[in-house]
Structure formats: C-alpha cells, structure tokens
Symmetry: C2
Subunit: 200 residues, 2 copies
C-alpha cells in the first residue's frame, strides 16, 4: 500500500500501543517522520532501554531498573506503614494524591481463581516473609473496590491478622463533588451506614 515497506512495519509496530488503531498509527508515523525525527529516535532508544532494563523492585515489586526502587531505597520513608496496591498506576495515584510517606507493595493483579491467578502470582509469599521478618504496624489495603479486589483485600487482611498486624482499608463513600441522586445504591447504602460525627 505505502511506497515504503519499512514505514508499513513502523505503522504496524505502533499498533501495539493501547488505544492506537490503524489510522492513529499511520498519523503517528507520518508525524514523526515529517516533524519529529529526533523525538522519534529518542523514543526508540528509550523503549529499547526500558523494555530491557526495567524489572521489578525486589522488595515492593514495583517497576524498577535497579534492585530496589527509589521509594524502597529512600531512607525518608516510614517503614511502619505498608500499603498494598494492585498496580504501579494505583501506587502512583496514591503517591500523587495523598501525603502518604510509608512503603508500598505492588501485587500486579488481584486474586482471580477463574483466571488461574492465585497468591503465588501476586508475590504473596514475598509479602508473607516481609510481614514476618520486617513487620509494619499497619497494613493499608488499597485494592480496587471490585469483587476480585474485595476478595483479595479479605485474603490480605487475614494474612496481616495472623502476624498481629492491623489491616486497614480505604474508606468507601460518596466521592467529593458527587451528587447523591446519581450515586449507585451500594455506595450510598455503605456511606449511610458508616456515617461519621461532624468534627467541631
């Protein structure tokens, strides 16, 4: 179709990116070739390097190109708090939105027996060892409020209690800026039941 087989291959390779179809891939390739050669070369080099060098932090399992990620290696973090999240993106969201200064543990998934994802796939043996040898005082469970996320939270809470560690869960309720009329019934039921006294 195109006059250049190499260009065809580039367009094809770009489609590996999420949300990029044939038309956007073509637009991206033409844009880089016409106007952003240097940026395209830099992206190529970064991709090659990142795919090869980025592994997982041996302590928290987050993506990292060194043995310990910057957060685990940092001396300034509070090691008595450990927050468990499903994905690196969730970790980043908490880090960006909250003032949390404790440590993290990244599952890279959630318990899902139907998909064959069990405790060993989420590194829970590593978490178990950590809770035993270097116990935090609180295990903050920040899995997603989905059925599988809740089941995972339940499992994690049991693990924490076994070691005498307090498990906690992010509060559920009405989101800021939300309107009661449009909140789903489950959330409203939960928010009503866990209403709190107004601080003076």
């Amino acid at each position: 179709m195109s006059g250049s087989p190499l260009l065809e291959q580039l367009i094809d390779a770009l489609r590996i990116l999420p949300g990029v179809g044939p038309k956007s891939a073509q637009r991206m390739a033409y844009h880089l070739l016409a106007r952003e050669r240097a940026g395209g070369e830099r992206l190529g080099a970064m991709l090659t390097k990142a795919m090869r060098d980025i592994g997982n932090c041996k302590q928290c399992r987050d993506f990292s190109e060194s043995e310990l990620c910057a957060i685990c290696a940092g001396a300034a973090r509070d090691s008595t708090l450990l927050c468990v999240v499903e994905s690196p993106a969730d970790r980043l969201a908490i880090e960006t939105a909250t003032g949390y200064r404790g440590l993290y543990f990244v599952l890279h998934g959630r318990l899902s027996p139907l998909d064959g994802i069990g405790p060993q796939d989420l590194g829970l043996d590593l978490l178990q060892t950590r809770l035993h040898e270097n116990a935090p005082s609180e295990l903050i469970i920040a899995t997603n409020p989905t059925i599988e996320g809740e089941a995972t939270a339940h499992y994690l809470a049991a693990m924490a209690r076994e070691q005498g560690i307090t498990p906690t869960r992010l509060a559920h309720g009405v989101p800021l800026g939300g309107e009661l009329e449009y909140i789903d019934r489950g959330t409203l039921f939960h928010a009503f039941g866990t209403r709190a006294a107004i601080q003076e």
Copy 2:
C-alpha cells in the same frame, strides 16, 4: 514521582506522539511493561531504524528507505499520468480509494508565503525538471481545497501549461451521502454551477 527514573523518561519520550498527553503516555508505558515487552522492544527497534533509514524517494519525494520508492520503481505504473499531493497521507488515501495507476509527486506542504514556504521548499524545481525531461500527458493536481491548497494548485497548473501538459483538478461538489441542507454554500454554489448531464 515514580519509583523508576527510566520509566519517567519513557513516559516523557512517549509524549512526542501526536495526541498523547501525560495520562495516556503513562498508560502506554505501564501497558508495555506489564503485558507487551516483546512488542515494545520491536517498536523501539522499528522506530530507531525508521527514523534513521527512511528518507525521500528521489523521484516523487514520498517517504522511502530506498532511492526510489516502491511505486516509482514499479514497472506497472502509467508514467503518462502524474498526480501531485500535499502529503504522503494524501497519496495513501488516493492509492487506497481510487484505481489510479499513474505516478505521484509529494509536496510535503503547500505554498504559504506568510509562513515562508515557497516553491523551493516543496521541491518544485525537481517537479519542473521532471515536467521538462519526462513529461506526463496529464498533471492531476490533488492539493487540498483550502485557500493555500488552491493557490498551490494555481501555481502548479501554470507550470504544467508552460510545458504543454494538461493540468486537471479533482472534482468539487456534494460528497456522497451528504445532505444538501447541510452542505456549505460555497460547495453548493460550485456543485450547482458545474452540474453534469445524467448518463442514460
């Protein structure tokens, strides 16, 4: 912010792609690292190779990694027809939608004195030589129907006539599936004025 400086750099590099903001770049990087390492590596290699090796066909100026692009090098094309387009994407659109079997010339832009884009920036010296030495019988001018595209078409038509070549222009009119009520007045005026007899 992230636990990995290399990951930060990758997210930053991805933003060179058109239509990719910080959030999509992050999603792309995490997706590749978690699920598409091989595809990511392949994309990295293709980008590096394409940015370095893809130049312009010396005959038609389309993107090509060889001296002549596949279309110019192909023996099956009709060299008495030459179609001038603004961009490689326009060339691809014509090649895909029509049965055109002639040759192309890619301007990589349009005449735009205000932006300092003159005939030499569009390779019109190369086109001049071609019209002189290897004259087609028809020069199909397929620039966009914008003010600058029309001015470019006007300039190209004069070049063709000087060499005794017939210049032609893509037909303007009501697009298939369009509704007269919603067509802009200029197009309707033009379509009405250039109405054609219905073939029996």
